[in-house]
């Protein structure tokens, strides 16, 4: 198994990013949208790794670690919001009804 070239890694990253974006745009389920965002973040992280490998720089991996923690924080906040919404008596995960939130 040969190491993938940076081009291939970037291609994969873009495919992943596009998938995530499509997910955010097309899905209405909040959970699935969160997951799509995770995919996009991971795509970005992959791009950093690939770049780091290409130039033999440590920054790529540093950025990966940071994105990892960012993603965790984002998921935590997102899930917390969803739980709060549920606790406030909102029984749906439909994102398009979010603009009716008042107060």
């Amino acid at each position: 198994m040969s190491t993938p070239s940076p081009t291939e890694a970037l291609l994969l990253a873009s495919i992943l990013f596009a998938t995530g974006l499509l997910g955010v745009l097309a899905r209405r389920n909040l959970l699935l949208m969160l997951m799509s965002i995770e995919i996009m973040l991971n795509a970005a992280a992959l791009a950093f790794i690939a770049a780091g490998a290409r130039w033999h720089a440590a920054q790529g991996q540093v950025m990966f670690l940071m994105i990892l923690s960012l993603a965790a924080a984002e998921a935590a906040v997102g899930l917390a919001i969803i739980l709060r919404l549920h606790a406030a008596g909102r029984p749906t995960l439909d994102a398009d009804t979010g603009n009716r939130l008042k107060g």
Partner: protein
């Protein structure tokens, strides 16, 4: 001492006006009367005293000056509130205070049961004060204070009975039409002030006399003529006077017959060197006078309202004065001004007495046969009518009109012919009025009686209307020249008299007019309806000037204003605001609150940004 009397004469009625306005009707009616008439009476006494000392010991300069205070003093222009008494203003002063006092006395009787009598006398005394300012001022700008002051008093008094919309409209019309003339006059003042840096009359006339002939006096003279014509109800700004009869009758007598409407004559006489320097302006003055006197006499022939007959007759008589001014017969104009003040005030007051007795009716065809019921009023009216018609020898009007006819003959025989035609018509229309109102069958039963406060002024003025003319006579009759002699320092000696057949013509024509009136309206054959053909109708409405101005000027102006009521500029700014709001509404639609759409916008924006970044 004498100089101090000048401001005092003005101050008396002014103070009375102040008291009457401040009291705001809390005083009893009798007190208002006494303050109103008394103050003007006091002025008249002071004026008599002043006149006596002025005539007894004429000043070397011929003029008594009294500068009160500096009004405006700025770079390149200064003006003072300053009074001066010369023979011309002396005559005017005596007319204003004397006739004014008689009319106010009459008004005490006429208005005694009006609830607003304090306001009435307040306005009347204010008017007298303003008129005296006009007469005394030796500076054109302080003259302008009086000029506009009498205008506003006239507005207040025409609309005195303000619950009737017609009166209010008539008052407004009177003020606005005269204001148009005033604006022209103000332009004239601006022109003169710009050229001369002063509006002091003596200084101005000196500049006109010595300065090089140029466009300045001509333009200024025409602009001032505009002001004079509007104030004196001359063509083409004459339309306000007949409507002004909406005011109480004493107002018509004082303001619209004896004093204010003659202010134009006074102004031109006061500035006569300016007008003499411009022969065209003189011709214009004479022409305006001639046209007005003929048109107004024609209108007076067919009126049915007794006060409107007198109003048109006033226009016509002031036309005579303008004719005299334009012919250079200054003394004649002033003489006629004086006698006209006597007999026209008398006619108005007698007419007012009649109107009171016949239940405030003014249509002459509803009167008739009133002579036996009110002999005093009838004789007074007859005296006034005789003087107005100019019946020879006996009446004041004869002598003054004769003098004007002489002057017109010297200027241009055509003017003379027109004036003679006017005299003929004058005799016809006023005796038509006399015959229809006082003779024939009675249509309205008169009630009440004319009290002493009204009868005494009538008697005084009747005497003046008859005997007042003896101060100035043609040489053919008797060489009496009191007035011309008095005025000679100002106007120079009068022109020599023409052939004596002029005098004969001037005496016979009014008699012929009375004869024609007798033939047409004598009690037996009297036609008791007004003529109804097209010309008569046109003449009755004042030859259609009102309609013309209404369709040409007033109506379009008001209509356009109404169309633009909400202000085009405002609409433009509102349109800008509306466009902005529509744009923002469109953009705000992007902000729908839907996360997915936001994400889409972010993505699209990133793509666009990347494309732009990569392109070069």
């Amino acid at each position: 001492m004498d100089a101090l009397l000048l401001p005092l004469i003005v101050f008396c009625p002014l103070l009375a006006a102040g008291i009457l306005f401040v009291s705001a009707g809390r005083m009893p009616a009798r007190a208002s009367c006494m303050i109103g008439a008394g103050s003007v009476g006091l002025s008249a006494l002071l004026a008599g005293r002043l006149a006596a000392s002025f005539l007894a010991a004429p000043l070397p300069a011929g003029t008594l000056h009294m500068a009160l205070w500096s009004w405006m003093r700025v770079e390149g222009f200064s003006t003072r509130i300053a009074f001066a008494l010369d023979p011309l203003s002396l005559v005017m002063m005596l007319v204003v205070t004397g006739v004014g006092f008689l009319i106010l006395l009459y008004a005490c009787g006429y208005m005694h049961d009006d609830p607003d009598i304090a306001r009435f006398f307040g306005c009347m005394t204010l008017f007298v004060a303003a008129m005296l300012v006009l007469v005394f001022s030796s500076d054109l700008l302080s003259l302008y204070i009086g000029w506009e002051g009498v205008g506003i008093c006239s507005y207040l008094l025409i609309g005195f009975w303000h619950t009737d919309t017609a009166n209010v409209v008539a008052a407004r019309k009177a003020f606005i039409v005269t204001r148009i003339g005033d604006a022209a006059m103000l332009c004239g003042l601006l022109l003169l002030a710009t050229q001369a840096s002063t509006l002091d009359i003596a200084a101005l006339l000196h500049i006109v006399a010595t300065g090089p002939a140029q466009l300045l006096p001509a333009t200024a003279a025409f602009l001032l003529l505009g002001g004079a014509a509007a104030k004196s109800a001359q063509v083409p700004l004459q339309t306000w006077l007949p409507d002004a009869m909406a005011g109480p009758t004493p107002v018509s007598a004082l303001i619209h017959a004896a004093t204010m409407v003659t202010a134009g004559v006074y102004l031109i006489a006061r500035l006569h060197p300016l007008f003499m320097a411009v022969p065209v302006a003189m011709k214009a003055v004479a022409l305006v006078g001639l046209i007005t006197l003929l048109l107004a006499a024609g209108s007076a022939l067919v009126q049915t309202d007794i006060k409107r007959i007198l109003a048109y007759s006033t226009m016509s008589q002031i036309g005579y004065m303008f004719l005299a001014l334009g012919s250079g017969a200054w003394q004649a104009a002033i003489f006629h001004l004086v006698t006209h003040a006597f007999f026209k005030a008398l006619l108005f007051m007698a007419a007012g007495a009649v109107i009171l007795r016949v239940h405030h009716r003014q249509d002459i065809y509803q009167m008739g046969g009133l002579a036996p019921a009110m002999p005093v009023v009838f004789s007074a009216f007859l005296a006034g009518a005789a003087a107005l018609a100019g019946l020879p020898l006996l009446t004041a009007g004869f002598y003054s009109k004769e003098m004007i006819l002489q002057g017109a003959w010297h200027a241009n025989p055509l003017l003379w012919a027109g004036a003679l035609l006017g005299a003929f018509a004058t005799a016809i229309y006023i005796f038509r009025c006399v015959f229809i109102v006082f003779l024939g069958t009675r249509h309205t039963e008169p009630t009440g009686r004319t009290g002493a406060t009204m009868a005494i002024p009538l008697a005084c003025l009747a005497i003046l209307a008859l005997a007042g003319g003896w101060m100035e006579m043609p040489d053919t009759i008797a060489p009496v020249h009191l007035l011309s002699h008095l005025l000679s320092p100002l106007f120079g000696t009068a022109t020599a008299e023409g052939p004596s057949w002029l005098l004969w013509a001037g005496s016979l024509v009014p008699l012929a007019g009375v004869g024609v009136a007798w033939l047409l309206w004598r009690p037996r054959t009297q036609a008791r309806t007004a003529p109804e053909d097209a010309i008569a109708r046109l003449a009755r409405t004042g030859w259609g000037f009102d309609t013309l101005y209404d369709t040409l000027l007033v109506r379009p102006f008001i209509t356009l204003g109404r169309l633009n009521q909400s202000d085009l500029c405002d609409r433009l700014s509102d349109a800008t605001a509306a466009t902005t709001r529509a744009g923002s509404r469109m953009l705000s639609r992007m902000q729908s609150g839907q996360v997915r759409r936001y994400a889409g916008w972010i993505a699209a924006g990133t793509v666009v940004a990347l494309c732009l970044g990569i392109r070069p």
